[in-house]
C-alpha cells in the first residue's frame, strides 16, 4: 500500500523563520561570521601585541643555535645545535618514555586486572587495593613522590645500592652495563629474522593442515623455541661476540655503561603505575563482560581450559578491552608531558619550556607542540576506527 503525499495546505506562506532549512542556513552563516570575527579580533590583537613587543613571527628561529644543553638525548645533540634539533630531541624523549611506559603499564595492568578476578580472596583484595590507591591520587603528586621523596633520597654515588657490582642505583640515576657488539654479531639479528619467518610459515602451514586433516602440532611452543633457540645457538657457535661495559665509579660519578637519569625513572615509574591501575579496571570489566554461558558452552564442547581461554574468552574480551585500552595509551602519552614538572627533557619541557623562554616565539612553539600531540591522537583514533571496524560483531 502506498500513500501519496498530500499537497501542501494552501494559505499564506509561512515566514522564513518557520522554515527549517532556511533557519539552519541562517544559523550556520551566523556561526561562521561569529567564528571569523573572533579569529580576526584575536589575530589583530596578536599582531598589535607582537609589534609592541618587537617579536618577529615565523619559523626562522628553528635554524638558530640553541645554546643550552639537554640531559638526555637519543640523537647527537650539543649546545651548538639548532632549536629545530631541540624539537627533535624532545619529541624522541617523549616517545621513549611513552613507549616504555605503555609496555610497563600493560604488563602491570593485565597482571593486576587478572589478579582482581582471582578466586583467591586475598589476591583479589590486594589487586583492588592497588587499583583504588593509585587511581585516586593525582599523577603529578605520584611523579613528585617518586622523584623528590624516593629517588632524591637515594645515597650518593659512593654508597650506591648495587646488584652484584653490575647495576648501580644512586641519587644520580640508574647505571646499567652496556653491551658492546664485536664483529660477527650481525649474524644474530639475521638468525632472529630467519626464526621469525620460519615461525610464521609454520603457523600458517599448521593452520592449513589442521583445517584439512584435523591434526595439529603445538605451533606456539615450536615457534617460541625457534625464536629463542636459533639466535642463542648462533650466539654460542660464534663464540659470544659481546662484551659488557660495566659502569665504574670515577671521581664523583659513574662512567661507562648505560645511564638512566632519575627524572626518567621517576616519570616512567609514575606513568606506568598510574596508568596500570586504569588498565587493570579495563581488563577486569572486559573479562567480566563475557557471559558465563560462553565459557560453559566451550567446556560443553570439551575444549581444554587453555583453548577455552584462547578461542572463546580472550577474543571476545579483547573486543571490549582494546578501545578503552588505546585511549589509556593516549592518556599516557599526553600525561608524559608532566615531565616538565621534574625537568625530564621531553617535548613540552625542552621545546615549550626552554626554547619558548629563550626565543619568545610563543605562538609558533605552542602550535608545534600541540600539533605533535594532535597528530599522535589522530593516528591513534584512526587505528581505533580501523580496529573497531575489524572486530565489530557482524549482526544480521
Amino acid at each position: 500500500m502506498s500513500v501519496r503525499p498530500q499537497a501542501r495546505p494552501t494559505g499564506p506562506k509561512p515566514p522564513f523563520w518557520r522554515d527549517r532549512a532556511k533557519r539552519a542556513l541562517i544559523f550556520q552563516v551566523l556561526l561562521i561570521a561569529a567564528v571569523a570575527a573572533f579569529l580576526l579580533y584575536i589575530i589583530g590583537n596578536t599582531q598589535a601585541n607582537l609589534a609592541a613587543r618587537g617579536i618577529t613571527t615565523g619559523f626562522g628561529f628553528l635554524e638558530r643555535t640553541a645554546g643550552f644543553g639537554i640531559g638526555q638525548s637519543l640523537i647527537e645533540y650539543s649546545s651548538q645545535s639548532t632549536y629545530g634539533r631541540t624539537f627533535l630531541v624532545g619529541l624522541l624523549n617523549t616517545l621513549l618514555v611513552s613507549a616504555l611506559g605503555v609496555l610497563a603499564a600493560t604488563i602491570i595492568g593485565f597482571t593486576v586486572g587478572i589478579a582482581r578476578l582471582s578466586p583467591n580472596w586475598l589476591i583479589a583484595r590486594l589487586a583492588s587495593g592497588y587499583i583504588e590507591i593509585f587511581r585516586n591520587i593525582p599523577l603529578l603528586l605520584q611523579i613528585f613522590f617518586w622523584y623528590f621523596a624516593v629517588l632524591q633520597a637515594l645515597p650518593s654515588p659512593r654508597d650506591s645500592l648495587t646488584l652484584s657490582e653490575l647495576v648501580f642505583l644512586n641519587v644520580r640515576g640508574l647505571f646499567l652495563p652496556e653491551p658492546q657488539f664485536l664483529s660477527g654479531f650481525g649474524l644474530i639479528p639475521t638468525a632472529f629474522a630467519v626464526a621469525v619467518v620460519a615461525s610464521i610459515a609454520l603457523v600458517v602451514w599448521n593452520k592449513r593442515r589442521h583445517e584439512a586433516t584435523g591434526k595439529r602440532l603445538p605451533a606456539g611452543w615450536i615457534s617460541l623455541a625457534l625464536l629463542i633457540g636459533l639466535p642463542f645457538a648462533v650466539l654460542v657457535v660464534t663464540g659470544v661476540p659481546v662484551t659488557w661495559e660495566v659502569p665504574e665509579l670515577r671521581g664523583f660519578n659513574f662512567r661507562g655503561g648505560i645511564t638512566v637519569i632519575p627524572e626518567f625513572l621517576a616519570l616512567w615509574l609514575a606513568l606506568s603505575i598510574y596508568t596500570a591501575s586504569f588498565i587493570a579496571e579495563i581488563v577486569r570489566s572486559g573479562i567480566q563482560a563475557i557471559p558465563h554461558g560462553q565459557t560453559e558452552a566451550a567446556q560443553a564442547l570439551s575444549l581444554p581450559q587453555g583453548l577455552v581461554l584462547r578461542l572463546v574468552v580472550i577474543p571476545q574480551a579483547l573486543r571490549v578491552i582494546i578501545p578503552p585500552l588505546t585511549s589509556q595509551y593516549l592518556n599516557l602519552i599526553k600525561n608524559s608531558s608532566l615531565a616538565t614538572a621534574i625537568g625530564y627533557p621531553d617535548l613540552v619541557s625542552v621545546f615549550a619550556g626552554t626554547t619558548l623562554n629563550q626565543t619568545g616565539q610563543a605562538i609558533e612553539v605552542i602550535s608545534m607542540t600541540m600539533a605533535v600531540y594532535l597528530i599522535i591522537s589522530l593516528l591513534v583514533s584512526l587505528f581505533m576506527n580501523w580496529f573497531n571496524a575489524r572486530v565489530a560483531l557482524v549482526e544480521r
Binding site: 544559523f27 590583537n45 586475598l122 590486594l126 613522590f145 613540552v348 600531540y373
Partner: protein
C-alpha cells in the same frame, strides 16, 4: 521394628563446610597454587604494612611547633600540623578565614543535599548550586561586596584553590559541553564539523600545553594593555579542556535515549529546544551523572597541573612548603598528606558514582 515418631534434632553442619574455617578453605587455601599465592600475598602485606604503620603511627611525632620536636624515627606530622592553615587556605589573610569556611560549609550542605536521594526539591537545589552558589562563593572569597575587604587571587591557595578550580571548571564546562554535544549530533554540517573539530582539538592535546597556552598566548590575544588575572587564565584553559570531555560524556548519554522519544516529541509539535530541554536532556542527564562524576574526578586530579604555571593549589603549596629552609627533609610527610586528601575526595566520589550506576542500572541488568 521400631518407628520413630519425632524428628531427630538438627545437628550442626560439619565444621569444615561452614564458618570461618570453610571460608578460609574456599577462598584462601582451595588448592596448592592458591595456598602459595595466599602466603605470598600475606608476606607482601607484611613487608609493606609493618614499616608503613610503624613510620606513620607508632614512631610518628604528632605534637610540637618546630622541627626540634621531631625525633626523626618516624613520620613528623608536626610539619603538616604547623602548615595546615596554609595547605587548606593558601596565603588567605588569617583574619578573613571565616569567609572560605562559610563557603566550604555551604558547598558541603549543597553537595550533601544533592547526593542524598531522599531529600526533596532536587531541581531547585541544583539550580542554586549551579548558578547562585558560584556567585555567592565569588563574592565571599574575593570580597569587595557587603563591606568585605578584597582578597587578591594571588593570595588564594591550597585545598581552597583546588576546589575553586575544579568546581568552576566543572560548572562552566557543563553548559558548553551540552551545547557542543547537541551540536555534534546536529543535522547542520557546519555546526557539526565546528563542534567535532573543537572537541577533538581540546581532547587531543595535554592539559599542560593548554595551560601553557592560556598563560603565554592568551595575553597576546587580548587588546594591548588588558591583562588577565593568572587564575582566570588557568580557569579559561581548564574550562575549555573540561567542556570537550564533558561533551563526549553528554553525547554518550544522548545516544542512550531511544530515538523514538525525540520523534514522539516532534510528533507532538514541540520545537527543537523544547524537545531537547523537556524530553531528551532530562532523561539523558540522569543517566550521565556517573560519567559526569568520573570526569569531575579526573578534573579534580588534573587541577594539580596549575602549579606548573605558578598557582599554588594543594600540591603546589605542599611543594613550596617543602623548600622552606626551616622544614627541609619532610618531603614524604608532605606528599603523603596531600595524597591522603586527594584520595579521600576522589575515592568517595568514585564510590558515589558506582552507587549511582548500580542504582540507575537496576532495570536493565540481566
Amino acid at each position: 521394628m521400631t518407628i520413630r515418631h519425632e524428628m531427630l534434632p538438627e545437628r550442626p553442619a560439619p565444621s569444615l563446610t561452614v564458618g570461618p574455617i570453610a571460608w578460609l578453605r574456599a577462598n584462601l587455601f582451595s588448592g596448592p597454587v592458591n595456598s602459595v599465592f595466599t602466603l605470598l600475598g600475606l608476606y607482601l602485606l607484611y613487608i609493606l604494612l609493618t614499616p608503613t604503620i610503624q613510620w606513620a603511627f607508632i614512631n610518628a611525632d604528632w605534637i610540637g611547633t618546630s622541627r626540634d620536636d621531631c625525633s626523626r624515627e618516624g613520620a613528623c606530622w608536626v610539619f603538616v600540623n604547623a602548615r595546615l592553615p596554609q595547605f587548606i587556605y593558601g596565603l588567605y589573610p588569617r583574619a578573613e578565614l571565616w569567609r572560605p569556611n562559610v563557603v566550604f560549609a555551604t558547598f558541603a550542605v549543597l553537595i550533601a543535599w544533592l547526593a542524598i536521594p531522599r531529600l526533596p526539591f532536587k531541581r531547585w537545589v541544583t539550580l542554586i548550586a549551579l548558578i547562585g552558589f558560584p556567585l555567592f562563593a565569588y563574592a565571599m572569597l574575593y570580597g569587595g561586596y557587603f563591606g568585605l575587604p578584597v582578597v587578591e587571587t594571588h593570595r588564594w591557595g591550597g585545598l581552597m584553590l583546588t576546589l575553586v578550580l575544579a568546581v568552576v571548571g566543572m560548572v562552566a564546562a557543563l553548559p558548553i559541553g551540552i551545547l557542543l554535544a547537541l551540536g555534534r549530533r546536529s543535522q547542520m554540517p557546519i555546526v557539526k564539523s565546528f563542534c567535532v573539530v573543537f572537541i577533538e582539538f581540546w581532547r587531543g592535546v595535554p592539559l599542560i600545553t593548554i595551560l601553557f597556552m592560556a598563560s603565554v598566548m592568551l595575553p597576546l590575544f587580548m587588546p594591548t594593555g588588558v591583562s588577565v588575572d593568572r587564575l582566570i587564565r588557568a580557569l579559561i584553559g581548564i574550562t575549555l579542556f573540561q567542556s570537550a570531555y564533558m561533551a563526549e560524556v553528554i553525547r554518550g548519554g544522548l545516544q542512550a535515549i531511544p530515538k523514538g522519544q525525540e520523534e514522539a516529541a516532534a510528533a507532538l509539535g514541540m520545537s527543537y529546544w523544547r524537545r531537547m530541554g523537556l524530553i531528551v536532556l532530562p532523561q539523558a542527564l540522569k543517566m550521565m551523572i556517573p560519567g559526569i562524576v568520573n570526569t569531575f574526578i579526573s578534573l579534580f586530579k588534573d587541577t594539580t597541573l596549575v602549579m606548573i604555571i605558578g598557582l599554588f593549589d594543594l600540591l603546589g603549596i605542599v611543594q613550596a612548603a617543602l623548600s622552606d629552609s626551616r622544614w627541609l627533609g619532610f618531603a614524604v610527610e608532605g606528599y603523603v598528606f596531600a595524597a591522603f586528601l586527594f584520595w579521600i575526595f576522589c575515592f568517595s566520589m568514585s564510590r558515589y558514582s558506582q552507587y549511582l550506576e548500580r542504582k540507575l542500572h537496576t532495570g536493565h541488568k540481566r
